[in-house]
């Protein structure tokens, strides 16, 4: 069992937890992820590692409640435990393998969207710890969904916050923010690392392609095992089939087929939605809600 030792509610639907997981904490790096399972009947849920403490042997995870399983996870409290917590999975970020010289020679902009701010955080921290100043955009629909701003400020040189509705920081989406920085404020970047909803990463990549800035994204497709066994996580990168769990999750954003990825994500939407309804309203929706026996 893997014990929860800290829980914070970051916003309405976003929750942070520190979990004791010695094997993972000893060997993980920024960019990697874990798979958690609440209890015997839970799903295997992939979550990117947000922070780690090698001494305390803890891993920090951040998740948004989107389906039946994350809803159940949100109910866990300090002292409760996950039945399963496996990792680190996936390949660590490229920057982990680069020398400080190389790291220092480039100006990196991190672009974090919503709950995607969590996986960006350990990378920004890593950069600072290796003597590099980076900038970071945190974007969300609304002020209530901006997370980890204070933490990020500790490690990033500049943190730019933007919200779609203008309720906090710059008014506009992350792309508007990038344009503002590059076109109006004279910022120059050699590399962008963008993590957030697929649609956001898609549009960031279209823009950075135009701007000629190499861009890395982190994909979070449907997964089951996370060890390369099932192929559920396949994404197309540069025309080739890749398994995000073993070949990724980070890929060259200019080569990723985002449209395909978005279509794949919809696959279990109906099933997941159904499970959610059942959780909230009991068994009444089993036959499609109206008792007609489904979509006949």
């Amino acid at each position: 069992m893997f014990k929860i030792v800290r829980k914070e509610v970051l916003s309405d639907k976003i929750i942070l937890m520190d979990v004791v997981a010695p094997f993972v904490a000893k060997s993980c790096y920024p960019g990697q992820f874990v798979i958690v399972k609440i209890d015997e009947k839970g799903e295997r849920i992939p979550l990117t590692i947000c922070d780690y403490d090698r001494e305390k042997e803890t891993i920090t995870i951040v998740f948004q409640t989107v389906g039946v399983s994350t809803e159940r996870m949100a109910k866990l409290e300090v002292g409760d435990a996950f039945r399963d917590f496996v990792g680190p999975l996936g390949v660590e970020s490229e920057l982990v393998h680069e020398s400080e010289e190389v790291l220092k020679s480039q100006k990196i902009l991190f672009v974090a969207g919503g709950v995607g701010t969590a996986p960006v955080y350990p990378q920004v921290k890593w950069m600072k710890e290796h003597g590099c100043d980076v900038d970071c955009i945190i974007g969300a629909r609304d002020k209530s969904l901006i997370i980890l701003e204070e933490e990020m400020k500790k490690y990033a040189k500049n943190v730019f916050v933007c919200t779609d509705n203008g309720s906090y920081g710059f008014k506009g989406n992350v792309n508007d923010m990038i344009k503002e920085l590059v076109y109006n404020q004279g910022y120059k970047y050699d590399k962008v690392i963008a993590i957030g909803p697929v649609i956001m990463m898609k549009f960031v990549c279209l823009l950075t392609k135009e701007l000629g800035i190499p861009t890395i994204v982190s994909m979070n497709p449907i997964m089951v095992d996370g060890t390369g066994m099932c192929g559920a996580c396949r994404v197309i990168v540069g025309g080739e089939v890749k398994f995000a769990c073993v070949d990724g999750p980070e890929f060259d954003g200019h080569l990723v087929d985002f449209d395909g990825a978005m279509k794949r994500q919809r696959l279990y939407k109906t099933e997941e939605g159904r499970a959610m309804l059942k959780l909230e309203e009991g068994d009444t929706h089993k036959n499609g809600g109206c008792g007609c026996g489904g979509d006949k």
Binding site: V86, P88, G231
Partner: protein, 460 residues
């Protein structure tokens, strides 16, 4: 009874079982088992044994069944096999032990598999466990993977007194036995979990949720005091065909489909993991994996077609599985090969374009190779395609272990007799070495490696 015929085994009716996940075959009861055992001629020079990859003393255990002495029979089998309740259910007996049975020349071979199963089930139901009574050796051995090869290797080493820990990547031990082979063929709680308990009863520790190569490397295991390592990590990486449309929604690897159903129990309303509710399914392939995926989809309410490019004779699945699949109403589209998967504007599968094949000259494998019939293209409309084309070993271990030699097919190179790999102290066996094969071969390899490891550590 006609001595040329085997005692028939009771099964769930096809029409009933097509709608549930309970075990298809009920197995023999004591009376039936004793009667079937009488058919064994007790050959002096038993050919059946030569057909068994772990050389179980078959006449020896059957002799005990004849006398109704099942506990003794179990002890005989246990000398050779750690997982008899599993093997009795999933071994391809018709091409192994039963193939060589003298009874088979004039009539039907003795039902060796069903007798093995009976003995193992009886032992479990009567609380009989294998025991160890050897001095502890105080030497630590790590076993990677808890499939048949890992369990066997670990069990044998524990019987020799070694301190053995199994590391398993998934949250449940058992390998393919839990994530691949379905409940209706191999009950998970009753059979697999019980056999794993038997291995644990020998003193073997099992650490789930540890991925060697990620959570910890082989080199770190040596640093932690393990003196030898056995790699039984299987061949989990699924193959796809590489045809157009294969990434569409509704195309699954058999591994994904079966894992959702078996390991994650998606078929059970109480579990959270979703599975697509398919209406019409094509399963591409003709092996055990294809049969299992097809029969799982059927039980979830779909119309199911097996699409296989060769003819019935070449189907690599166990004869019993093909027979059961047909009884249950699976449609076999043989000599048929998919060339493209069709989908709508949302990338959801709508059909599969196939060509008809005919058999030509024998190829390298000795099987007549299928050739496309010109102009035979046709479309099957459906919503789900499951690819069951075979698997290869995953690179998690080979890519993180220096000096570990692998071959072109990504399989670990290991000595057949000892399991020794190119790295000192590292042994391997099972699907990780051979590519996807069978439970019993994996067990045989685990057994051989246990001996290899014992020799290595005794000389060290």
């Amino acid at each position: 009874m006609d001595p040329l015929k085997r005692v028939p085994v009771r099964e769930q009716e096809p029409e009933v079982r097509a709608h549930n996940f309970e075990e298809v075959c009920y197995g023999y009861n004591m009376e039936e088992a004793v009667e079937e055992a009488q058919r064994c001629l007790g050959c002096k020079n038993p050919k059946c044994r030569t057909g068994c990859p772990v050389s179980i003393d078959i006449p020896g255990f059957i002799e005990n069944v004849k006398k109704g002495n099942i506990e003794e029979a179990y002890k005989v089998i246990s000398l050779y096999s750690a997982l008899p309740a599993v093997c009795g259910r999933v071994c391809p007996q018709e091409s192994q032990c039963e193939k060589y049975c003298i009874r088979g020349i004039k009539g039907e071979a003795v039902s060796i598999g069903k007798l093995e199963r009976f003995v193992a089930d009886w032992a479990r139901e009567n609380g009989i466990k294998p025991t160890v009574d050897v001095p502890k050796k105080n030497k630590k051995v790590a076993v990677i993977g808890s499939g048949p090869s890992g369990l066997t290797c670990a069990g044998d080493l524990a019987k020799m007194g070694y301190d053995v820990t199994i590391f398993e990547a998934l949250h449940e031990a058992g390998g393919v036995l839990v994530y691949g082979i379905p409940e209706f063929r191999l009950p998970k709680e009753k059979v697999v979990a019980a056999e794993i308990e038997n291995v644990k009863a020998l003193g073997v520790k099992i650490e789930t949720n540890v991925i060697i190569g990620k959570s910890i490397t082989i080199d770190q295991l040596f640093d932690d005091g393990f003196e030898a390592v056995f790699i039984g990590s299987g061949a989990g990486l699924p193959r796809f065909m590489g045809i157009k449309g294969e990434t569409a929604n509704g195309v699954f690897s058999a591994n994904e489909y079966l894992t959702r159903s078996n390991l994650m129990k998606a078929f059970d309303e109480d579990y959270d993991t979703p599975i697509v509710s398919a209406k019409k399914v094509a399963v591409v392939g003709g092996g055990n994996v294809a049969m299992d995926a097809a029969r799982t989809a059927l039980r979830s309410g779909a119309e199911v077609h097996i699409v296989y490019r060769r003819s019935e004779e070449e189907l690599p699945a166990r004869a019993e599985e093909v027979h059961h699949a047909k009884q249950e109403g699976i449609i076999f589209d043989l000599l048929t090969n998919p060339v493209e998967i069709l989908s709508d504007e949302n990338d959801n599968v709508t059909g599969i374009k196939c060509v008809r094949m005919e058999l030509g000259e024998p190829d390298a494998s000795g099987r007549r190779s299928p050739v496309v019939i010109e102009g035979s293209e046709f479309v099957i409309e459906l919503d789900t395609v499951i690819m069951a084309l075979g698997t290869s070993p995953n690179p998690l271990i080979s890519s993180t272990t220096k000096g570990l030699e692998i071959n072109r097919r990504k399989c670990i190179v290991a000595n057949e007799e000892s399991g020794q790999t190119s790295r000192e102290g590292v042994f391997a066996g099972g699907d990780a070495v051979t590519g996807a094969a069978t439970v019993i071969l994996a067990m045989g390899a685990g057994k051989a490696a246990a001996k290899g490891i014992d020799n290595y550590l005794s000389e060290k």
